[in-house]
């Protein structure tokens, strides 16, 4: 199953490695990724594919010290629809 994530991470040289390492190790394959820098932060939009529930990844990414925000996009859409 495909999932889309949006992350706001600290602008540090190793931050991409951190995010991608956790993604791979927790069993998710990156199929698409975009990044851009914005002030002190870097914004990442990542599409991943896995059999596993996306929360197994988003919970681990949220835990990273350099990850300031991690949103699963489908969840966000559902939340907005509920408003």
């Amino acid at each position: 199953m495909m999932h889309s994530l949006e992350l706001e991470v600290s602008r540090r040289p190793e931050v991409l490695e951190r995010v991608l390492r956790v993604t791979r190790h927790r069993g998710f394959r990156v199929t698409n990724m975009q990044m851009r820098e914005q002030g002190e932060n870097t914004l990442l939009a990542i599409t991943v594919e896995a059999e596993r529930a996306i929360e197994l990844l988003s919970n681990q990414l949220t835990k990273l010290v350099d990850v300031n925000l991690c949103v699963v996009k489908a969840q966000e859409a559902a939340r907005q629809a509920a408003r």
Binding site: R21, N59, V65
Partner: protein, 566 residues
């Protein structure tokens, strides 16, 4: 008035210094009285700063020994352990112990020297990408890229190592930053509050507890790490809920609690596993459904609803979907869930189960029976004592047959299962608790993995006791070969072991060797009463295996009982 005082204090702490001196000052400011390490080229300025003695340094004989000593120090005391190493091989030698600290949630700060900034990325002498190496074996890591970042980074490292779910944090410091001139200024310390539990979740959890007819508490190492042992004990006292512990949770529940069934899992007590399989509500406290605990996950506690309490939200739902999940401070949550439970028939069933599956120490024959010996050791140890294990059969016998007063008294490499953990962890524990009786229980395989630390015992004059169980085998692997690999004993024979007592004597450590059950009592007394270090070498039969056992891939109610041991 207060503000002026604070400003004065701040001013008095602002002065010109070197990066390396600032490192030592930050250590002292965090109450670190002792660090463990090994010098080398890229960390020489920090060793120069240590020479002034503001923080004491313990020279181990291998960086892995230093890092495990820091782990032992942290686990025996609850404080953050600190280790130092140089760049390249020094840093890579720390990795195993950092991984161990990550899996067992141990607060450790590792400081590594790095080649000068201008040489990073040039394949310089003793250069390796330590930040890159650290990513998968630390909670967080830093490479300091400017001297202005040095002090805030170190403060953040200490904060991160201890807050929330603790873990190892690495700070890599290039040599030019260690020698750079700077002003020492203490940064403002952030205060990280633990998350609070939502009232609705507490209400749901209370409702599940009230409905349950057969609840079990499954208690892990998180309780000790959260300093929640007393709240947990009060909770169990008030609810009279039966409980089991993980390997890391041992010592959390008093051994004389009638409704405590001991360790669960692969080598747990049969009663503990059966009770969990039968329960209708599992209260998971600071534990994480490790595969060595659950056996076949799909059949673990199959009829139970689950309340999962852990400070790390990423553990909730990772392996077993909970009915109620609460990521909050256990010290706050446990009292909020406490109350009377109407479960007397279940308590009676637990008591019967416990009585039915008691350990049998009545072992015929002249040879030393390790479980009985460890039970005797447990009974003989003074109140203030620490047991540091290695990994293998002896580790499981310690977990099964010894009682611990608190989690800090039992140091065992639970998550990573690192052979070589025991001796350096015991050294760290002895420094953390100088008046405690510290016993390293090891096996002949594990002991050789960090045997160089006998030199640290000698150098520092430590009274560490070593109980070495020698079956001339890599016993746990051999056991699995016997059970699951048709008895093909591939590379598990260690009958060419060195003379361990002779080796100990080379480090001025006296000792004694026994092989008969009748010698155990007196030999343990001799070990414990001899001032200074002592090695008790115990030759045990290689036919003894660890029982009971949940075979890999089986459910926990399919435990194998003792088979063909001699």
């Amino acid at each position: 008035m207060t503000e002026t005082k604070q400003e004065q204090e701040q001013d008095s702490q602002t002065k010109q210094t070197r990066g390396a001196d600032a490192v030592v000052k930050v250590l002292a400011a965090h109450g670190v009285d002792r660090v463990f390490g090994y010098p080398g080229g890229a960390i020489m300025p920090i060793y120069d700063a240590l020479y002034d003695g503001e923080v004491e340094h313990v020279l181990t004989r291998h960086e892995q020994g230093a890092a495990f000593a820091a782990v032992g120090y942290a686990r025996a005391s609850g404080k953050t352990g600190v280790c130092l190493a140089t760049s390249g091989p020094g840093a890579t030698n720390l990795i195993t112990a950092l991984a161990d600290a990550l899996l067992d949630s141990v607060p450790v700060v590792a400081i590594t020297g790095q080649v000068p900034s201008s040489l990073i990325g040039t394949d310089a002498f003793q250069e390796i990408d330590v930040l890159g190496l650290s990513l998968s074996c630390t909670k967080h890591s830093f490479m300091v890229t400017s001297v202005d970042e040095l002090i805030p980074t170190l403060y953040q490292a200490f904060e991160l190592a201890a807050e929330g779910r603790p873990g190892p944090v690495l700070v890599d410091i290039p040599k030019d930053i260690q020698v750079a001139a700077m002003e020492y200024r203490r940064p403002l310390q952030p205060v990280t509050a633990l998350p609070a539990a939502a009232q609705t979740d507490l209400d749901k959890a209370r409702a599940l507890l009230a409905e349950a007819k057969c609840p079990m508490a499954y208690i892990g190492g998180g309780v000790g790490m959260a300093s929640a042992v007393e709240p947990l004990r009060r909770f169990l006292n008030q609810t009279k809920m039966p409980s089991v512990c993980t390997l890391k949770g041992l010592g959390t529940v008093p051994g004389d609690d009638d409704l405590y069934l001991g360790m669960l899992g692969m080598h747990g007590l049969k009663a503990a596993n059966l009770a969990v399989q039968e329960c209708d509500l599992l209260l998971v406290v600071g534990a994480r459904f490790d595969d060595r605990v659950t056996g076949k996950l799909a059949t673990f506690a199959p009829n139970a609803k689950v309340i999962h309490l852990d400070v790390d939200a990423a553990e909730l739902g990772k392996l077993r979907q909970p009915d109620v999940a609460i990521a909050a401070d256990l010290c706050e949550v446990l009292p909020a869930l406490s109350g009377d439970l109407d479960i007397q028939p279940w308590r009676d069933q637990i008591s019967a189960l416990k009585a039915e599956h008691r350990w049998d120490y009545d072992h015929p024959g002249e040879l030393v029976y390790a479980p009985a010996m460890l039970k005797s050791l447990s009974e003989k140890l003074p109140k203030d004592s620490v047991v540091a294990c290695d990994v293998g059969q002896h580790q499981m016998w310690v977990a099964q047959h010894m009682q611990f007063r608190r989690p800090e008294d039992h140091l065992s490499s639970a998550g990573l299962g690192t052979m070589g953990f025991g001796l350096p962890a015991a050294i760290g524990a002895q420094f953390a608790r100088p008046n405690a009786t510290v016993v390293a229980v090891s096996g002949d395989g594990s002991f050789m993995m960090n045997v160089q630390e006998l030199a640290t015992i000698k150098r520092m004059g430590l009274p560490v006791k070593i109980l070495l169980l020698n079956n001339q085998k890599l016993g746990m692997v051999k056991q699995w070969q016997q059970l699951f690999f048709d008895g093909r004993l591939s590379e598990t024979d260690l009958s060419d072991n060195p003379d361990f007592l002779l080796m100990a004597s080379a480090f001025n450590i006296p000792g004694r060797s026994i092989s008969k059950a009748e010698e155990v009592n007196e030999a343990l007394d001799e070990m414990l009463s001899t001032p200074g270090p002592f090695m008790l070498h115990v030759a045990i039969d290689d036919g003894f295996n660890v029982w009971p056992l949940v075979p890999p891939g089986a459910a926990n109610n399919e435990m194998l009982d003792k088979m063909e041991d001699k």
